[in-house]
Subunit: 593 residues, 2 copies
């Protein structure tokens, strides 16, 4: 830096205790105002903003030069900290009672007029923010997201270090094992026709580290999935990846809970009660219609299948007697919803496959409903009792296959929770969902696929079902849920070669395929593999929740758009023919030759 | 874990204070010995080894089962800690005064006989170690490398956090900018014909974070270079990447020194004196023939070019008068080197381009040398004086272009330093090398290339030379050197658009090219860029030095071989035609269709 004005203080940290001191500040001009022979500038650096004042009397040179200042100029100023006049105090600024009388000014760099204001809560098209990401990140609310992100990882690393976990880096250039999402591939220059894959997770390597006797491993690891992106997905994402040997599931969960409690305490100042509540997958689905329930509000699903099975309403009765479910929600006090309101909700649940949304309004004089006539008085009484219905309540029902009932009512519950403002936004509700099914049937591929991944251990009590009824085997798998988001998932792993081979065979792999894809893991399992398990936490999402943002992109410094491009650098881009030739590949869509 | 024998203690941490306690240990059988009705096993876990004893009297079941134990079986034992008999104490073991009387044994997993012993200092072909990396990593000396690696990063992160640096993750899927090494490419599925590149370093992104006002950034970042690998290179490597705004070069260096001193203190218990010595590039080359001198020993290069320019020996004289250098080394006390010894050294320097290695032995009676006859007595006296030669010394000379002189003598110096055991291996000599040339001439490409990278700021005093004599411009660049290894390098960056454009033009980029490659950076520079700079430390190499290893591969959990393959997983491998089709590429060397 060629300047002589090297910073002595950070702008946002000046306070009344500094009054009388001469300070040198470096930063950006956030705003400039002229007022009767005075020039005021808000000087911003990472720590915050302080007002600096130029006046002929303090320095004629500085005053003259200050006339050329524009927003986002980078400047250095020297001056004395003074108390502001009482009437000019700015109570919204941490430095609002003081200002700096400038005696020296240096313009370190000029700036063009930025395409949007560097301030919070701007209303600018996201593509413009992404193209000028370096300006978007200047906005205090964005900077804060990354300060939180830094702090979260610091607390997690400190906790894991204290508990003797070792951070180990695993390869980014690794083997393509197409089971799960689509791989990003990297052509090899040295081995023509061969490709590396970028890791979807360090799963196999962390298990190998357990075979290696590392016992407690973690990594804050970049992972990659080449999938079509939804609003809350990114092609590259970061997970806190943890694995441990020689512990029980309960010991491991307790450790993870303690770690998250530390994060909440140190980052948000929130005390999370331990242990976290635990719900089995079955209970979560049954009560909330979701395997990642938001438990900050009630509005639970009520099951009236047994009533429906006996009732006179044919629609309910048919479904209940054919193995379907009839469940509903009691929207307390929503009896005054209009026909249009209910039509909207009906369209909403239709997105999740529900063919209709039956409803009943509870009144002082019994129920009001188009389907009331199909029920006996006693049946209605049973239903109202099941829902604990009171006058003014709106009961809504979906009758269908379990998946449709859960999806539609689970999402209806979330929608109503928001609409009726039932959610206490100050709450952080953690919980574990456990005992997931080990396998699910993939109708397209006509085979079982692993619900978590092929290395998940079945419940001890279900091992005997692996041959006879694999669809009923539950897994030693657990998800960590926060406010309706799955923020992490993990399992105890299979550590016996025989069970792992059985698992691969259930997934329809031939011996040949299993060997070709995972032979090195099966071989490793023969050399003394300890019992082990672990989990992976989605760091991007966790930071998103803790900063109260709606988009993962706000918590990733240089994110990709939904079409997996970088608006800032224009990656991906075309490359030279020479580069492709060296990699022994050709593009098939365009001719570069 | 289905066992009831959940670990209560770590094997290697048991001490006499635990005598009388009942403990449960989990780990690997390291060794088993039978001795008159007793079975002994060394039980190993991450913390170390303890001896466990099976005896019918403690438990008949355990004793029977113990008979099936083999090396690397995973077991759980329960038993009482007792004092060993004095004659069986093992002073080489931290737990050597105690043992555990086993009352319960569970075999958690069996193990095949490993292909090599799980112990330090094995003599096994590296490919076998890499193929069974999970076994290689079980060896205590390997585990230790990763414990050191974990600790180094922890200390660095703590230091940087305390100093308000924010850890920010930058993208792995980014833009190919072919300036420097060869990129690894990743075909885009969404944009046919386009490619991401894996980052060679986060250079541009960290500079953009400075534009964004983050002020103090760091990242422990994975980087990629698709180059032909030497023994100490890996296709993916890790650097501690640091960038900072609004500081002087001296402030930044002082901070980095303090950080390294912390690492040395906390990891090695070594106090490093601060500040580090500083050598200019010119001085380092002149005294050590290297820009990364190992200063743990002297054996400095002596310049006799001015004597040579006046002397009667034509070979020296010609070179000295044509702008070449004549320099040498005084190998103290090596006057008794045989002709073969000297021939070997001559062949050695020939590798670095030296056409010969002249020599003189200083004796009590003047010098002994094939070239003595070409020098006057006075010239010989001048030379001996320049080298501070004493009887028994061997003076060796190279006369050539500066590059050849430096390369050959610099490497000869290192060779002799090792051969003559001049190096104090307990020393950790840090230093800065500064004032590097900004540019070097690339004879192949017939243009200047940046010695560091195109974003390096020239010395203020040399800015005026950019137009007239760019080859003489020095850079605000600095390398951190430890024991003859460059462990880090950095610079103050160009932050003014005009200087950056000038730099690109010196590198021979057209405006078009500069814009296409780095347009987003040049544009960012227009919006208020602060003065900034930083550095990158090679983590793998630092850990290699601190663990006293000879190979980077020992400090990377799952490294690649010199042909950039993974012996464990067999990556890279062939992938399916479907995968390539989705990525819009074809291989040119083999037909997968």
């Amino acid at each position: 830096m060629a300047t002589t004005l090297t910073r002595t203080h950070q702008s946002g940290k000046l306070r009344e205790e500094h009054i009388g001191q001469e300070v040198i500040l470096n930063g950006w001009v956030s705003k400039r105002r002229d007022l009767g022979g005075l020039i005021f500038a808000d000087l911003r650096d990472r720590s915050g903003i302080v007002q600096v004042v130029f006046n002929q009397d303090f320095s004629e040179d500085a005053f003259k030069l200050a006339d050329s200042l524009r927003s986002e100029f980078v400047i250095a100023v020297k001056g004395k900290v003074i108390l502001r006049d009482p009437e000019t105090v700015n109570p919204n600024l941490a430095t609002g009672t003081i200002e700096v009388q400038v005696t020296e000014l240096e313009i370190m760099n000029a700036a063009k007029n930025p395409p949007f204001f560097i301030q919070d809560d701007i209303d600018v098209e996201e593509n413009i923010r992404l193209k000028h990401r370096y300006l978007d990140l200047r906005r205090p609310e964005m900077l804060n997201n990354f300060q939180v992100r830094h702090k979260v990882t610091k607390v997690i690393r400190d906790y894991l270090d204290t508990n003797e976990f070792m951070e180990v880096e695993t390869p980014m250039l690794t083997k393509s094992t197409p089971e799960g999402a689509r791989d990003y591939l990297v052509p090899s220059r040295v081995q023509p026709g061969s490709f590396f894959a970028l890791p979807q997770s360090p799963q196999l390597f962390k298990q190998l580290l357990m075979v290696a006797g590392f016992e407690k491993y973690f990594q804050i690891a970049r992972c990659f999935r080449d999938e079509d992106l939804r609003a809350d997905r990114q092609p590259e994402f970061t997970q806190v990846d943890i694995e441990m040997s020689f512990m029980t599931l309960e010991q491991f969960q307790a450790m993870m809970e303690e770690m998250m409690a530390k994060v909440m305490q140190e980052v948000k100042g929130v005390e999370v009660p331990l242990p976290f509540p635990r719900l089995t997958y079955q209970e979560a689905m049954s009560r909330y219609g979701s395997d990642k329930p938001d438990t900050r509000f009630e509005l639970e699903l009520v099951d009236i299948t047994s009533i429906a099975a006996e009732c006179s309403f044919k629609v309910f009765n048919d479904i209940a007697s054919k193995g379907g479910l009839v469940k509903g929600i009691n929207a307390k006090g929503c009896g005054d919803f209009s026909r249009k309101d209910i039509d909207d909700l009906t369209s909403f649940v239709a997105r999740y496959g529900a063919k209709g949304l039956a409803w009943m309004v509870v009144t002082e004089d019994g129920i009001k409903s188009q389907i009331a006539k199909f029920f006996s008085e006693d049946e209605i009484k049973q239903i109202v009792t099941a829902f604990e219905g009171e006058p003014g309540d709106l009961l809504m029902f979906v009758a269908d296959k379990p998946k449709v009932v859960y999806d539609s009512l689970g999402n209806l519950r979330l929608l109503l929770g928001k609409q009726l403002k039932l959610i206490d936004e100050s709450k952080y509700n953690f919980l574990w969902v456990t005992d997931f099914p080990l396998l699910e049937w993939d109708a397209d591929e006509k085979r079982y696929v692993a619900l978590h991944h092929p290395f998940t251990m079945p419940l001890d009590s279900d091992l005997s079902l692996l041959d006879s009824e694999p669809e009923n085997v539950k897994a030693k798998a657990y998800d960590m849920v926060l406010n309706g988001y799955e923020i992490g998932g993990g399992s105890m792993r299979i550590y016996q070669k025989q069970i792992q081979e059985k698992m691969f065979s259930l997934l329809g792999f031939s011996d040949e395929e299993a060997k070709q894809k995972f032979g090195f893991l099966l071989e490793a399992f023969e050399y003394g593999t300890p019992p082990h398990g672990g989990m992976a936490l989605g760091l991007d999402r966790l930071v998103m929740i803790l900063t109260g943002r709606q988009s993962l992109r706000d918590c990733i410094a240089f994110p990709k758009t939904a079409s997996a491009t970088c608006q800032l650098t224009n990656a991906p881009n075309e490359v030279s023919a020479k580069q492709l030739k060296e990699l022994h590949i050709k593009t098939t869509s365009i001719n570069i030759d």
